[in-house]
Structure formats: C-alpha cells, structure tokens
Symmetry: C2
Subunit: 200 residues, 2 copies
Amino acid sequence: MFHEERTMSAPKTKRGRERRAQILAAAEQMFGARGYADTSVADITRAAGAAQGTLYIYFSGKEEIFSELVREMGRMTRRAMARAVADAPDRLEAERRGLAAFLRFAAERPALYRIVEEARFVDPPAYRAYFTEFAEAYRQSLDKAEAEGSIRPGDNEVRAWMLMGIAKSLGDRFVLWEGGGDLDHVVEAAFDMIRDGLAP
Amino acid sequence: MFHEERTMSAPKTKRGRERRAQILAAAEQMFGARGYADTSVADITRAAGAAQGTLYIYFSGKEEIFSELVREMGRMTRRAMARAVADAPDRLEAERRGLAAFLRFAAERPALYRIVEEARFVDPPAYRAYFTEFAEAYRQSLDKAEAEGSIRPGDNEVRAWMLMGIAKSLGDRFVLWEGGGDLDHVVEAAFDMIRDGLAP
C-alpha cells in the first residue's frame, strides 16, 4: 500500500523544517498512543497545532508520515548504538554497550518503538526491510570481529538475528511493560549470557 | 476491549465440537491472511461453510474467536515444546530441542504465529499476559536447572526473556520470511551461542 507514494523534498527554510518536525513529533505521539488505524490526518494536524492543509505541504498523507517515522527509528537507533559502541575496546564490550543504548533509546522513545512493531501489520515490506537491513549491518560487524579473533567462529547471520531478538524481547519486558526498572542490571545479566556465548 | 466478553461453555456433542473447530480453523486462516480489522464474522462463517447464526452458538463474536486463537497458540506451543524436551538428558539439550520444536511449530502454523503478534495491538493485555506467563514457566525451568547445576547461576527471568526473544526473532527471519530453509542448521548455529552462554 505504501509503495507508490509521492516522496516530498525536504523543506528549504528553517521554518519549514520546524513545521515538518512538529508534524512528525505529533504523529509519533498519536500513532504511538492510538495506533495507525485510529489516527487520522486531522488528529495529527490538530495535535501539531497546524492547519490540515499544512500537512500536505510536507507529506502525501498519513502513510508517508508513518513510513518516515519507521525510517526515523532506524536512523536514531543506528546513531545511538554507533555512538555507544564507538569507543568500545572490543566487540564483546560493544555488544554490552549497544544493548544498553538500545534499551535506553526505547525508554526515551516508546512511541517510536511501538510504531516500528505496528509496521509489521501496517506496512509488512517496510518492517521486514527494517530488520533485514539492520541484521545485515550487524552481521558485517560480527564477521569483522570474527576475523579479528574477538569472537569465535560461527554463523553471524543467525547470531545477528538472535542478538536483535534479545534486545527486542528485553525492550518489551523491561522498558515498555515495566519502565523505570534497573536497566543496568538487565544489561549485565543479559551480557553474562551473550559474552560467554560469543567469546573466543 | 476484550475483558467483559461472554465465555461460552464447550459444546456437548461431537458435531458441536467439530463445528466449533471448523470455525476456529477458518478464523485462523482469515485473521492470518488479512489481519484482525479486515476480517468480519461474515468472512469467517463463509470460510467455515457455516451460517452466520451458527458462529454465535459457539462464540460471542470475533473478539472471542481471536482471544481463543491466542490461547490456542499458547497451549499448542507449550505442548509441542514440552513433548520435545520431555526426554532431554539435561537443560541445555532441552533448550536445543525446545527451540527446534518452536520453529517447526511456527512453520506448521504461520497464521497462528501472526495472530499472536497482532494481539500486541488488538488486545495488548492478552499479548502481555501470553508472554509473561510463558516467561514465568520458563524461568522456573531455568531455576530448577540452576539448582541442579546444569546451567550456571544467573538471572533466570532475564534469560527466559532473552531465549524467547531469540526464538521469535529466528522465527521471523527463517520461518515466516524465508520458509523452507535449513532449520536444523539455524538451530545448531543458535544453540552454539546459547549453550556456551548458559553452560556451568
């Protein structure tokens, strides 16, 4: 349903970029709270304090806004994790820091996390692409670590999907469903199993 | 939305039980293919080859049928996994067999797998209860294994959620999105990480 959408060019003025960002932020809250089907363009423009016509300057409709939020989650997660692992002395420590960064990000942006999961039903090809691209980059990192001897040989595609599944499941339980808990403890307990599962 | 539903008693005749099972099987295919919102009671009865009134003998409406399918997935998964691990010599081998059984079951009943995931949005309390109950039983098995010395000490609640997340993620990638692949290889590759992550 989303594959013939019109993609708008980025706004050229500062005011335009702010307007567009306000609409996205409002949509994130509305989709996150009510879900895709129960959120209308009118809901989003009202929450953004904008006139309905304004939205169509930046987006072709709610489909495009939803897709843009899924892409936003991808960009933000990758950025947060890349930053967290940049100074890690080795891959195992990078796994620990990356997991912590993912859970912190989910705690900061629970609506965005929920939107990505709803994409499984609202836009299945986008959902699949989201995780497949993420897994492919993850696999490459693990291949590099394996070549350097910092993790032992293994099927790094399977491992990438396992590690993503671990992060999502811990995110469900310890962030979305019971926020405010001791995430540091969760990360350490999880890392105990990941480390020995991957160590050379 | 699902919490004041009327729960019907089980049919007393063989014919009644068959009719009810036909309706559930038809609903599983319809919900699995189209999703909850786009499936009506009329769609389900038509697919079951039944008159619309018949459905209301067994179910209060599509909400109850959906909830019953989520419970069915829970019962079937637990049964398939319990059977698979019954003769396992130790907990680690039980993990390997349990993961294999879960992936095989997802391959056999992909519609049911999808219905459970859609429950995250259609019936959030049921979704959360589904995985929380599963995790609690899992934690108890891991606690027992830890007490027996067949896995090393650790936070078995965190481990239970990790292992569930691994199974779901591998199910997405290697069963739902690319069925027919070499599941035995996936299980062995995954078990390599799980074993060393848990071994004493």
